[in-house]
């Protein structure tokens, strides 16, 4: 008790104050050209209420919260170990149970049932649309990027390019672009699926074959450039892509087999089911791939490329394969989005989009299929919630501040992601001790 003012306490108190001050600025009002300091003064000076209990000013509220954080932190240092062992003891039995095969299948069935019933449980039109456009499609994209980043360990910052290729291919084969549809026939959207997948895969191979000899950050820069090139093409090739206006005449999916006729219309629910079917197919496919010979080759390349070569793995071949599989998944997601919304604009295919998908993968857990699916659902639901019911002072462009903060916190407390893949968890653990080759994967340094 005598040592209350010892430096560790002071440090903790200041850290709590600093964290809350940053949070205060993040959640505060924006400034403007006329009042450049308004963002700062407003963040601290505006009135605020604490759960409706009392009204005060923001700085008082945050000072209070900082003290609470300091208190909790100090308590954690004292009792944290006990809490941790107690929780570890409490969850060890259920956790061991989830490792057994029947329980895993049972959980999968429950999750599937919930996924299938969801449109009947949530009838709000905003959420029904969001479930397709912003969640299910992003789950697909995250699954695809996970093959590239998580399985093969390649940093791809131009993932949006393949998504755009898928979307524009759909517009092209269905005759919605200024350029003529192939053979002058306006195909059904279902035909767009194989064509878009093939084109996205093809461009993945064309981009990958020469550039995948590069490592780490060099590859990231090349893919970044590729993403920008595709967007610029879409914007400027007016006669082919419709330029910055894009197109808004893409038809919906329709099924016309014998007596069965079905048209996917403006309502999102049929699209939800269509996407869910493909999500399940992709999950099953990627699970098989992960444990196949190809998956083992990816693991080997990710861990040590030279050693992989020495056991007879052709790194280029398997890297291009991962790249092409990721690309085709994005291409497929492009088909779904384009068909569902009927419209595509070049301005929706931005670098920010690629980064967003990468955030889902890193947050969920690189290399873990369950992780990235969960990560995509959690982050996209969260951002849609903020859009739908914004808290006071929230602007849509604030989203990336929060995502950034979330990633920083994640990297401190759960660097391997929400549901870490077992192997990735070990890799990051070893990299922290300065062993292994994880840093090589992330930075491209060759030891």
């Amino acid at each position: 008790m005598k040592r209350v003012f010892a430096s560790a306490h002071v440090k903790r108190l200041f850290s709590a104050l600093a964290a809350l001050a940053i949070l205060e600025l993040m959640t505060g009002p924006p400034g403007s050209a006329l009042a450049p300091t308004a963002g700062f003064t407003g963040s601290f000076g505006e009135p605020a209420s604490f759960l409706g209990l009392f009204r005060t000013q923001r700085w008082v509220l945050f000072l209070f919260l900082a003290l609470v954080m300091y208190g909790l932190w100090s308590a954690w240092l004292v009792w944290g170990q006990q809490v941790r062992t107690a929780t570890a003891k409490a969850v060890s039995a259920p956790r061991a149970a989830t490792r057994t095969r029947p329980v895993r299948w049972g959980m999968a069935v429950v999750v599937l049932a919930v996924a299938l019933l969801l449109p009947h449980l949530i009838t709000d039109p905003f959420w029904q649309a969001a479930m397709v456009e912003q969640i299910a499609v992003y789950v697909l994209l995250a699954l695809g990027l996970n093959v590239v980043v998580g399985f093969a360990g390649l940093l791809d910052l131009g993932f949006v390019a393949f998504y755009a290729i898928g979307a524009y291919t759909t517009a092209w084969v269905t005759g919605a672009l200024p350029t003529a549809a192939p053979f002058g026939i306006h195909f059904n959207n279902f035909y767009a699926i194989p064509i878009a997948i093939a084109l996205a895969m093809g461009s993945g191979i064309i981009l990958g074959a020469p550039t995948l000899r590069l490592r780490g950050d060099y590859l990231a820069i090349v893919t970044l450039g590729f993403g920008e090139i595709i967007t610029i093409f879409a914007n400027n090739l007016y006669g082919i892509t419709g330029g910055s206006q894009g197109t808004n005449t893409i038809p919906h999916f329709s099924l016309h087999v014998g007596p069965i006729k079905y048209l996917w219309g403006l309502t999102p629910v049929p699209y939800y089911y269509l996407t869910i079917v493909f999500v399940i197919l992709f999950i099953a496919g990627f699970k098989l791939l992960e444990h196949s010979r190809v998956g083992r080759a990816w693991t080997a390349i990710r861990e040590d490329e030279v050693a992989a070569e020495s056991v007879g793995i052709n790194p280029l071949k398997y890297k291009v394969m991962a790249f092409a599989i990721g690309a085709s998944t994005a291409g497929f997601a492009g088909v779904v989005t384009a068909s569902q919304s009927n419209t595509i604009f070049p301005s929706s295919f931005t670098l920010q989009f690629s980064i967003n998908i990468l955030v889902l993968v890193i947050f969920g857990g690189m290399g873990s299929i369950t992780g990235v699916v969960l990560g995509a659902i959690v982050i996209q639901t969260g951002s849609m919630y903020l859009l739908h019911t914004p808290p006071a002072g929230y602007q849509p462009q604030d989203l990336y501040i929060y995502l950034g903060a979330l990633l920083v916190v994640m990297m401190i407390f759960r660097p391997a992601g929400l549901v870490p893949s077992r192997r990735r968890h070990r890799e990051i653990g070893l990299a922290e001790k300065g062993e292994g080759h994880m840093n090589e994967v992330l930075t491209g340094d060759t030891p």
Partner: protein, 236 residues
């Protein structure tokens, strides 16, 4: 079995190998000796396809493999135990061994059992991850992984590096057993005395050249070798 003719390797402006020639015959252990920077590791990198020679050529079992890509060497029958072992740190011991058989078709469980017989310690540790093994165990794992590819020629790069003398003895005994079971071995070593006692023949490298080669027993008694590489530690 393996013949290298006038191989030249350059890294940019620096010439690492100035036209070296040597041969390895079936059933031998041949050792390459030399100080740091003499070109031993470059030679092995060249022989495993990681760095193709700018001129000269490499023949393996009568086939020209000068320009062959690194990942195809295992299929040819050349196994490589790289410098620094380079096992896959997150894979279990068993997964490491299994991936050594990556290019093989069909079952390899017999070989896996054979590896566990040769290296009993690996059997004990089969479910542990490679990164948690000791240096000697990692070296055994690296050798085992290379043997899983059923090589007829095994290239070993500094297998004794950083290991305790007792472990080095074990490793060298195993290298001898590998030769006795019919696999030819090319051994690059700094530990000249021990390498020469095990090997049939040896070559001495200096500044990217092979300065001389002879039978191991002759090299052990050679005045130049004794002076430069064996120093005071000669026991033979």
């Amino acid at each position: 079995m393996l013949e290298v003719h006038e191989a030249v390797v350059r890294y940019g402006a620096i010439t690492a190998l100035h036209g070296i020639s040597f041969e390895v015959n079936q059933g031998e252990i041949v050792t390459l000796l030399g100080a740091n920077g003499a070109g031993k590791s470059t030679t092995l990198r060249m022989l495993s396809g990681l760095h193709a020679p700018q001129s000269g050529h490499i023949m393996f079992e009568g086939q020209d493999v000068t320009k062959t890509k690194a990942h195809l060497f295992t299929s040819l029958g050349i196994g490589h135990v790289p410098e620094g072992r380079r096992i896959f740190p997150q894979m279990t011991v068993e997964e490491n061994l299994e991936i050594g058989a990556f290019r093989r078709r069909g079952s390899y469980s017999d070989d896996l059992e054979r590896m566990y017989e040769t290296f009993p310690i690996l059997k004990e540790r089969r479910k542990q991850i490679g990164g948690n093994l000791s240096g000697g165990e990692q070296q055994m794992l690296a050798i085992g992984r290379a043997l899983m590819g059923q090589p007829r020629l095994l290239l070993l790069d500094e297998p004794s590096m950083g290991l305790a003398p007792m472990i080095v003895d074990t490793i060298f005994r195993i290298i001898g057993e590998i030769r006795d079971s019919g696999t030819t071995v090319l051994l690059v070593e700094q530990n000249a005395a021990q390498a020469l006692r095990l090997a049939d023949r040896g070559y001495v490298m200096e500044n990217g050249k092979i300065v001389f080669g002879d039978t191991a027993s002759n090299l052990l008694t050679d005045a130049r070798v004794r002076a430069v590489y064996l120093g005071e530690n000669v026991e033979s």
